[in-house]
Amino acid sequence: MSISVEKLYKVFQDPQQPEVAAVDRIEFQVRAGEIFGLLGPNGAGKTTTLRMLATLLRPTSGSASIAGHDLWKNPSHVRRSIGYLSADSGVYDRLTPREIVEHFGQLYGLSRSQVRDRTEELFEHFSMGAHSDRLCMHLSSGIRQKVSIIRSLVHSPPVLLLDEPTRSLDILVARTVTDFIRQARQRGSCILLSTHDMNEASSLCDSFAILHRGRILAQGATHELETRFGGKSLEQLFFHTIEHDRGVPRVSK
């Protein structure tokens, strides 16, 4: 398994707030060449889950391994194995796309020539053309998002963690991103994608989990779930489980 999550649990310590688990003992697995969707409304715990898997946040308890590396024991190996992209990921305005990609290539430990070759390869693939050497502040949001994607791919990670990568993007730019996700799957990448866009989820994901208030309410392969819930579409299934959960009183650990 490229991603394996076991009883991952996260509570934010705030003496002024009631103790609420942002992520409540969730478990799932994602294989190489598979797109796994984390589906949920805002505040469901999607970003927290992805941030924990990206080693940005420390889980309160539970464990996870990514590309065979344990989250607790080998965080730096985990980071080398993932490409992380979120809707909030930005680019350095006063650098050119080439400078940004080369900067991150160096941080991932690639040699100068490796960085150069990889940058050329990715720029060509994403048709960056003349944009490669202009300062990012002068680039459109679509090109900037492309730069973010290239940045996350510079070290050829086997696992991609994508946190609502198409949120607030215009339709053409969103298309660039979804195309890239499909191509990554074809190349055998393991992709964990969080989204609250049902269309995006049903067109992209091989399997998914519905996350609400930190807990997984349902998970499985897309067609399998549809069959299990009596032929409901993904959207109907989503609202059905969420509304059912809202009636259930909340239990914290």
Binding site: F12, Q13, D14, P15, Q16, Q17, P18, R51, A54, T55, L56, L57, R58, S76, H77, R79, R80, I82, Y84, S86, D88, S89, G90, V91, Y92, D93, R94, L95, E99, H103, F104, Q106, L107, Y108, G109, L135, S148, R151, S152
Partner: protein, 704 residues
């Protein structure tokens, strides 16, 4: 490690040099500011001088002897006076058609009186008045000489049994240092605050806001490598800016002083030639400025030797390091660019008073000043501009500045490792904060601690202290009971915090009471020894304490002895403990995280609210021990008892058999110090056992 830091450093620097704002602050401001400033200033000076020389000053004369008018017209050196005899001189002066009016009233007894009428609000009138005074004095002197010769047949030497001269023993180098040093050291330090300002905001808060920090944190670079790279780039920019600032300042002021010297030299030469009857008797550096008084004329020379520049640089480097680290820490703490600006602006405001201490007349570098951040460097720069600084103080300033810088950098690293600081999101603020329901039944946090501290400080400053000056007993009672205790309870009520839990009002076990007794004695003795250590470092302290301390003897006139005892022992023990160990300490201890930081912070607030910088180390030490007691036992009563014991000992110390207790000039005997340490250790052991209310309760703060 340094490879990654170097990569981050290079990228930060590249970004910075492409930022116009930073470039402006870094290069344009220092390089252009001083020359422009001085160009403007000297232009104005020259213009004024020329315009004064060129214009003819009109003087109205009424009733004056003929030869006075001639004297004014012919003897005015470099000025041109026109005397007018007009019918209504008072009106002419009021209307501004003449600059001054000189009236002469004849008489034998009393003798004739010459009055110079001028307008204090007009520049031309004030200047003319000054110039005419010296001319009139000279006129009077000539009259005297004339009379002596004609009526007594003697000469002027009768009136001058001796001459008065002033000679400054300082070299022109030290003179220049004294004059310019104060201004230059202030400018040097104040400008250093601004250089790391924008790079720091951009580097941490800016990256958070633009979403690039996350991409950096998810790369395999360690957090401390990122901080090192960022810090190094901010520090580099601050250093480049400061060096340019120093160079620009040095060049501009050297040029300026050269100009001033040339102008002064010319002026002095002509003055010597005109006023001294025999130039050979006048020494090269002295010249008569007034009748019979000879004064040295001052030569300004800014002579910075390489050794002095090197020493300035040696201090400037850790100073830039400190300011860069503080700026980066504040910026890391901020959630957004705007918030970082809000945090960093007060930083420059906080630096200003510290720097201005150096300008207070009589402020000199000593063991105490050298350790104050910003103030130490300012005073040291002043000494260096005077030619040298004592090596001890140089070392103290250098060491303390490096220490503060390292501490700030350490804090920044900690902040960078704190996920809650890096990823925290804004909370909603409402003016009706007491109705903010999420607080209901919860524990207070740092913002409520800050609120209470602010309230207590302001009410103490504006109400408590004036009241104490008016009536000490009532003042103390009011400050303690109403302001401290009442303020704390009011905040608990407003926020609906449960009082017992918030203030740790858990009944202590008997063993805790014994522990608190020993803690009170041990804490007092160690605090007392800290006071002695302070006196060793700063020998002038006892006198200052005496001058600044409250004199409690007046209390005995106001209330009976028993009342004094209650006011000075029990009341502060209950009220101050409620505020500092009850509310503030508990607010700062956030669920098992960083209890030591909370302990020291609460002790610092305790010492701060005693409103005496000199007593700070003593009250701080005591605060640490009291806080330790409450944290270990989990009960506020332990703090109250220990505080009470300590207060009783302080009050009773003059009557105790050990002289040194009452006199901090003497060190405590070794056996007593040893006993104090033993007492603290034993009390720690006693207080740690059987913690209240229940050690397994996760809401109960633990000291790990």
């Amino acid at each position: 490690m340094f490879r990654n830091s170097w990569i981050v450093f290079r990228r930060e620097l590249l970004e910075t040099v492409r930022d116009r704002r930073t470039l402006f602050v870094m290069f344009i401001l220092p390089v252009v500011l001083y020359p422009l400033l001085l160009l403007g200033l000297s232009q104005i000076l020259v213009h004024q001088k020329l315009s004064i020389k060129k214009t003819t000053t009109s003087i109205a004369l009424s009733g004056a002897p003929e030869d006075l008018a001639i004297h004014l017209q012919t003897q005015s050196r470099g000025h041109s006076f026109q005397t007018l005899d007009i019918p209504n001189p008072r009106q002419a002066l009021a209307e501004g058609t003449v600059s001054i009016w000189i009236s002469w009233q004849e008489g034998d007894d009393p003798p004739p009186q010459l009055t110079i009428h001028y307008s204090g609000t007009r520049e031309d009138s004030r200047l003319a008045q000054k110039q005419v005074v010296s001319l009139v004095k000279e006129y009077r002197r000539q009259k005297v000489v004339h009379r002596l010769q004609n009526e007594l047949g003697t000469d002027e030497s009768l009136l001058r049994p001796f001459q008065i001269a002033r000679q400054n023993i300082e070299s022109s180098e030290r003179q220049a240092g004294f004059m310019l040093g104060r201004v230059l050291s202030l400018l040097l330090v104040l400008m250093s605050v601004f250089f790391p300002f924008y790079p720091a905001i951009d580097s941490a808060a800016g990256e958070k806001e633009r979403g690039t920090l996350e991409t950096l944190l998810v790369s395999p670079v360690k957090r401390r490598e990122i901080v090192t790279g960022k810090y190094a780039s901010i520090f580099t920019i601050a250093m480049v800016g400061s060096l340019l600032n120093l160079a620009s300042m040095g060049l501009t002021f050297t040029h300026f002083t050269h100009l001033v010297n040339v102008m002064k030299q010319e002026a002095q030469n002509s003055a010597i030639l005109e006023s001294s009857p025999d130039p050979t008797t006048s020494s090269e550096k002295t010249t008569p400025v007034e009748d019979g008084i000879v004064e040295e004329y001052m030569q300004i020379r800014l002579d910075l030797t390489p050794a002095i520049l090197l020493q300035i640089l040696l201090i400037l480097t850790p100073l830039c390091g400190l300011l860069s680290a503080v700026s980066l820490a504040l910026s890391t703490y901020a959630r957004s660019y705007k918030e970082a600006q809000y945090y960093l602006t007060p930083l420059s405001l906080a630096v200003l008073p510290l720097a201005l201490i150096g300008l207070i007349p009589g402020a000199e570098l000593d063991g105490f000043n050298a350790l104050i951040p910003i103030t130490g460097p300012v005073l040291l720069f002043q000494s260096l501009f005077l030619g040298s600084a004592p090596p001890l103080f140089f070392g103290l300033v250098l060491g303390s500045t490096i220490f503060y810088g390292a501490l700030s950098l350490h804090i920044t690293r900690k902040l960078f490792e704190d996920e809650e600081i890096l990823f925290r999101e804004g909370t909603l603020w409402t003016w009706r904060f007491w109705q903010y329901s999420p607080h209901r039944g919860k524990a207070p946090g740092p913002s409520q601690a800050l609120l209470l501290l602010g309230m207590a400080f302001l009410s103490l400053w504006y109400v408590g202290q004036p009241l104490q000056l008016h009536h000490l007993a009532w003042g103390i009672a009011f400050s303690q009971i109403v302001l401290f205790l009442g303020g704390t309870l009011a905040i608990c009520h407003l926020y609906r915090f449960p009082i017992k839990k918030t203030l740790s009002l858990y009944r202590p076990r008997a063993i805790h009471l014994l522990g608190s007794l020993l803690l009170g004695i041990g804490g007092f003795l160690i605090g007392r020894q800290v006071l002695h250590g302070q006196i060793l470092l700063f020998p002038q302290m006892p006198e200052m304490m005496h001058q600044m301390g409250s004199d409690f003897s007046i209390l005995f006139e106001q209330v009976p002895p028993f009342g004094v005892l209650i006011l000075l022992t029990i009341v502060p023990a209950i009220c101050e403990e409620t505020v500092f160990r009850g509310f503030i300490l508990n607010s700062l201890v956030d669920k098992n995280r960083r209890p030591l930081a909370a302990l020291f912070l609460s002790a610092a607030t305790f010492a701060f609210l005693h409103l005496s910088l000199i007593r700070f180390p003593f009250t701080f030490t005591l605060g640490v021990f009291l806080g330790l007691g409450v944290l270990l036992s989990g009960s506020l009563y332990v703090g109250i008892v220990a505080h009470f014991i300590s207060n009783v000992l302080a009050l009773a110390s003059p009557h105790l058999p050990i002289d040194s207790l009452d006199n901090p000039n003497l060190s405590l005997p070794t056996w007593l110090l040893f006993l104090a340490v033993i007492l603290i250790l034993v009390s720690t052991f006693l207080l740690k056992s059987d913690k209240r209310p229940d050690p397994t309760d996760p809401s109960c703060p633990k000291l790990t």
